[in-house]
Subunit: 279 residues, 2 copies
């Protein structure tokens, strides 16, 4: 496992991959949980060379968001990675990724400004930009991403297609705690009381799935029921949406393609989750 901090060094390696080998890339902001590690395991399975990036990307955080307090523990991350076959860990500085005169941004219009994009203006612009930069540096064949950030996956798939990038995204299932809470680096912000409240996201998903199975199709009803459940747990709804998964457009009448997407504040912590309504 080679740890590389220099963009230039990493790019030289990326320019000289053995053409016969499949390069698998797992972009992360570090502070690993089982979700991240499941992506690394999947990359190991599907590629000959695995690269993991650890970079807390400042450009995807809003001015009042948690960039400074976002949890970081490089030592622990590297120890966790040592259980896998990781060929390169790429962890550049912000100064290298965004020099002072940096001024180029990638915007995936429409699908970046709804859902999480409505609550976090500029977030997906930062995500799209950093991923395009990382891809240009690393030149991976496959990029492994968790479906917890479903909108992120959708935005990036669109970017890669629109910009004729050859890297393919491999979306991977959400990894959950035993009680159903989706794993997230931000779960560490929750105190024991909030940890219980945080279960409302998964419970709301399960309730909507049950109601869908019972034949309910009107999303306005499903949404109200989900919102009521979240409130009962003490969560504050940011959004609860039922969408077509490629365009992320809201649907009035759900079908087997429909996905429930939600973001909820538990105290100051904003958590997201999603699932196909069909289960």
């Amino acid at each position: 496992m080679q740890i590389i901090n220099s963009v230039k060094t990493m790019q030289e390696i990326g320019n000289n991959w053995d053409a016969g080998k499949r390069i698998g890339f797992v972009p992360t902001m570090g502070y690993f949980h089982q979700g991240h590690l499941s992506l690394v395991a999947e990359a190991n399975k599907q590629s000959e060379i695995t690269v993991v990036s650890i970079f807390v990307n400042p450009s995807q955080f809003g001015p009042n968001e948690d960039f400074d307090s976002y949890p970081r523990d490089m030592q622990r991350d590297l120890e966790l990675l040592s259980n896998y076959k990781v060929d390169y860990v790429f962890s550049p500085s912000s100064e290298q990724m965004y020099p002072q005169d940096y001024r180029t941004w990638v915007e995936v219009e429409g699908i970046s400004s709804i859902l999480c994009g409505a609550s976090r203006p500029g977030h997906f612009r930062g995500v799209a930009t950093v991923i395009l930069k990382l891809i240009n540096i690393l030149k991976p064949n496959l990029m492994f991403m968790g479906e917890k950030d479903f909108q992120q996956v959708t935005v990036l798939k669109k970017m890669l297609k629109d910009l004729n990038c050859i890297t393919q995204i491999v979306p991977c299932h959400i990894i959950r705690e035993d009680d159903g809470l989706a794993m997230s680096s931000r779960n560490i912000y929750l105190n024991p009381e909030q940890r219980k409240q945080a279960l409302c996201l998964f419970k709301a998903i399960q309730q909507a799935q049950t109601q869908y199975k019972q034949g309910i199709r009107e999303t306005i009803f499903l949404q109200k029921e989900a919102a009521d459940l979240v409130k009962k747990f003490g969560g504050i709804v940011d959004y609860i949406s039922f969408v077509e998964p490629n365009t992320l457009q809201e649907v009035a009448i759900a079908d087997d393609n429909t996905r429930i997407m939600l973001a909820v504040f538990i105290g100051k912590t904003r958590l997201i989750d999603n699932a196909p309504l069909k289960g």
Copy 2:
């Protein structure tokens, strides 16, 4: 000379370049003049494989600009190219480059909204986006571009650096008619009277260079003199600017780095030109 209209076919070729060969790329909108051909000649000189793209990019034209009337003559272009060693001509359809649900754009902030960008909102967004797409399809080592579009070269250099693209731009000298008019596909719009008026751009550059040589450094004076000359010829000034060539920021006191940039309307035709003030 292979003519390729399919993005997919071109990308397959681009993904399989012989690693030992240098790929030279000349992006064009067709309707070749000696300026274009000088870029092809330079690509031949500096690369083992030369690719020329011919694509009138709709996204860099404003709604009231000349996209529909922009001159096109593929047959003549191909004949002109046959005098050079061109390995591939890539000429995709707009529908392939921008499918109906296309939504990804690249913005190089600041330097895209001044000078030509002020008169042509969105122009450089369209240029940056199409060039990034072409580069992702073709994967060239070198990209040959004329300095007539000096701001374009500056914007694209910045984009390539910011986004960690390995393609390097090779800026090439402006090719001029015998009387000094910079060659441009848009010169065809000029009637004989306007053709004479159009010389004001080059004359204004020469005058500024002479005045600089005489020791004049205040750009406000140089600018006024240049504007007077343009008016005398019957041109309408869009802008005349004296800039630092990397940032395109206007300077009050010129030095040996300063570049004069100008855009002038001759009738309805907007022409541009530029040169180092030092000559």
